[in-house]
Symmetry: C2
Subunit: 513 residues, 2 copies
């Protein structure tokens, strides 16, 4: 039996390494590859991707898993090997249910759609890409049908990224959240707008990057097992648990865009860097869900990086880095500027308070598309109507409207967005638990040190990788299931003083929160 | 039949892409990979290397080659498809003759030896690595035995890198060359030494790199299909014909080290960039031999980059780049400095005239090791004796003696060095032919443009990739077989005026040159 387990681990290791190699091909493509490398690179990525898929879906892995079932049943539920067998079984079943002919068809279509989107978006041309998106919706429905038994056609996608969640469990959570957010957004909208012009000064890219690197070094991002490079869109990627890299973009006329993207990606990366090294080579050597991953990035970006205690330490330093821009700006003015709340068109530029409204629009619309309740032809209108009703803004074009996110044009439709909001919710819940366990977190943040928070996260979140589901992890770390109350409390406690909101303006905290 | 050819090409393409992916893993390892990535990277390189080997040695490729033999025989000898079948057959037979168990044993031993060498060299410790080198010699002999029929045990290795050559064909060439070189070296040694102190000024790395990049852009290195990064040891690598990268090192206190390494690697890279794009994915999409490859790097580095006409154009530019170092230095002084001839200990630092003496020492010693005429235990003594007799210098330690080159410690023993000197010889022969065909090469060089030379090389060398053997290519391009006379003429014509040598000091040009 032990021998079967060793054999399984060996096979998994090969599939894992192939997947890591594919990530390196991607990383190089977006960082350093010269233009002329593109055609071959597409071919090489798909070759290694196919080899990785073949290795992971090999019939021998299925046989070994069958053979190991009695072992898994005999082990204590908390055992690493039991978790390995369970998680591998789940991912193996998922990967083998979809015929490889369909995988090939889908990935070809997605690649073509992505290419078309890179042209259509700058051209503001939804019409040209509409037929492709219609086909994506069709293919996505077919994909869902490989997982019979779903209650909602979006459930298989949601389960893939946020295992254990469904439309039925997410909807009430999101509805309550919306009820809690809308009064805050409305109360803030009634106040005079924040002046954030101090962030629009020209700031040398090198100094921006150096400042961000200094902060994440203090966070605990390990540069012996990672590095940062420049890309058009920031991301985190890993080639082993010993090599977890991040990227950022930089804009000369935006003082903090690169900084917050750096803190965000470092949050993702520290999760991966913190996973137990003995999980390397197995499906346990990953973050457990999109939501938990996002809780880590948002915690370091927002709950730490946009907090008052953080800037008590770092403001003199950023002033010294950008004297021309910040010499005459007070920490209060700066703190207000980086926390400006303003309903806007673009999700990735949105503030903490309105961000989740963007996500919920997409979550609802993609389910309607999958359910056939919304035609792709009517998507732009539905998009604009929701922006008008939920955020009170209207996109002047498709570019910053329905074409703004890559997700639907670079993948399937369904399950692509809920993780962002699940992560925001969880970030506050975990942070509350961390501060309860280690009250020194607040004073350390004021001193620019982060050992207690990092230690608590490593102990309660990072090290476990995918051993526990998001729900198990949340209960173990916070004592209860995912809940929106800590998140709404956090937003209120932060933004009420910032905007001079009165207790009566909060609205009732939704029942069941 | 055409179908079999298409099937062959498809299988070759996969093996080719896997080999390219392996190169990217290597490139990243030496450029950007953080320390923590090392263990996984070793594993990943060996995994992809194994997969590439399996793909290329697949039994189906042998079957297709058998099936295609009548087609190859029916095609005109100059046909691309005939060349593809011939070259693939040669490489397939070579790759399949060695059992994979031996390949695994060898590569494990080599990896361990390389690791040990990285420790032993700085520690000046030959004794510790001696047993490993002894085993390398044994394994190398075994390897040769997979290719029965050799006249000299080194022949299979030489054939691998410089197909068509053997110890029997190289030895007379090298002997004649030595006879031609020694009088020149001795005549120069009798002159006062050149003052090259102007090159030892501190020069900012960034300006060094910028100058080198500007030169190779003018050479015609295509940055849309390549880039340069920093590594400890400079090299060229490729991930497709559309992505041929180079690396360089930089030393702040050496004005031209990075420059000449850049010109050298760009010469290699322009060869690969110039290969016909329709060869992509086949064994034809490579330089045809180590010697021809080196002829390209040495031509741009030395025959162009260290020439008087070149510096007529570039000297004012380099003066402007490094005013503190060169403001008061004349172009003559600089030209003498970069062409200083001085017997020295380290091959990679050697000047043009003495360089080949270093190579011949290694060529002779590795054959003696393989033949069992020299024991590894006696290698340091033999090494030092040859340096004393051939170059008149004595290494103070093993570090710059027998431990200086990675080749024996990072691969097999045999066939590792002859390509350097074959390349030097060929560089002058090709250059003479190019200037005969396009006399404007000299005046263009004076103007810092290189279209005629690049065009001639592309036409006569680069585009063909591995379609023709080195010998076929040399005959087509120059009208005759490899000959040392153009090279000895070149050296004499350049160094006689530099050192005020008189005709009588040249010695007789060796017979058969």
């Amino acid at each position: 039996m032990r021998e079967a387990l060793d054999q399984l681990k060996q096979r998994l290791f090969e599939a894992y390494d192939l997947a890591m190699v594919r990530s390196l091909l991607n990383w190089d493509q977006t960082t350093y590859m010269p233009k002329g490398g593109a055609p071959a690179r597409g071919r090489q990525i798909s070759l290694i991707g196919r080899r990785a898929h073949e290795a992971f879906t090999h019939v021998e892995i299925g046989r070994l898993l069958d053979q190991l079932e009695p072992l898994a049943a005999s082990l204590p539920p908390d055992s690493d090997d039991a978790a390995l067998i369970k998680v591998t079984r789940r991912e193996y079943d998922r990967a083998t249910r979809v015929p490889s002919s369909f995988v090939a068809e889908m990935s070809q279509h997605v690649a073509a759609t992505y290419q078309a989107w890179t042209v259509a978006r700058p051209a503001n041309d939804f019409a040209s890409i509409r037929p492709m998106l219609e086909h994506t919706v069709e293919l996505s429905r077919k994909y869902a049908d490989f997982f019979p038994g779903w209650k909602n056609v979006a459930d298989p996608f949601i389960d893939h990224d946020d295992h254990g969640m469904t439309v039925a469990t997410i909807r009430p959570l999101f509805d309550s959240l919306r009820k809690g957010l809308v009064p805050i957004v409305q109360a803030i909208a009634a106040k005079p707008p924040t002046d954030d012009s101090c962030l629009r000064h020209t700031a040398p890219i090198e100094a921006q990057l150096a400042f961000g690197l200094d902060v994440i070094r203090r966070f605990g991002y390990d540069f012996e097992r990672g590095r940062q490079d420049l890309t058009h869109h920031p991301f985190m990627t890993k080639f082993s648990l010993g090599d977890v890299r991040i990227t950022t973009r930089s804009r000369e006329n935006d003082l903090t865009d690169s900084l917050f993207s750096t803190l965000h990606e470092a949050g993702h990366a520290m999760y991966e860097q913190g996973i137990r090294r003995d999980f390397e080579g197995t499906p346990l050597a990953n973050g457990t869900s999109a939501g938990v991953h996002e809780s880590q990035s948002r915690m370091w970006e927002n709950l730490i990086g946009r907090s008052r205690p953080f800037w008590e330490h770092f403001y003199p330093k950023i002033q010294a880095s950008f004297p021309a821009a910040l010499r005459d700006v007070s920490v209060d003015t700066f703190y207000r500027a980086i926390n400006k709340v303003e309903p806007s068109l673009v999700r990735t530029d949105a503030d903490e308070v309105t961000y989740n409204l963007h996500v919920m629009i997409r979550f609802d619309l993609e389910i309607q598309l999958l359910e056939g309740k919304l035609a792709v032809a009517d998507l732009p209108e539905a998009w604009n109507a929701r922006y008008k009703s939920d955020l009170g803004v209207q996109a002047p074009d498709h570019r910053d409207g329905v074409l703004q996110d890559v997700h639907w044009y670079g993948g399937h439709v369904g399950g692509a967005f809920q993780g962002y909001t699940l992560g925001n919710i969880l970030s506050a819940q975990l942070f509350r638990a961390a501060v309860m366990a280690k009250p020194s977190i607040q004073s350390e943040t004021r001193e620019g040190t982060f050992e207690s928070l990092r230690g608590w996260l490593r102990e309660n979140v990072h090290q476990h990788g995918a051993k526990y589901t998001a729900d198990e992890l949340t209960r173990r770390a916070t004592g209860g299931p995912l809940a929106i109350e800590p998140y709404l409390d956090y937003l209120w406690d932060k933004y009420a003083p910032l905007y001079g909101l009165k207790a009566g303006e909060r609205g009732a905290v939704p029942a069941g929160a």
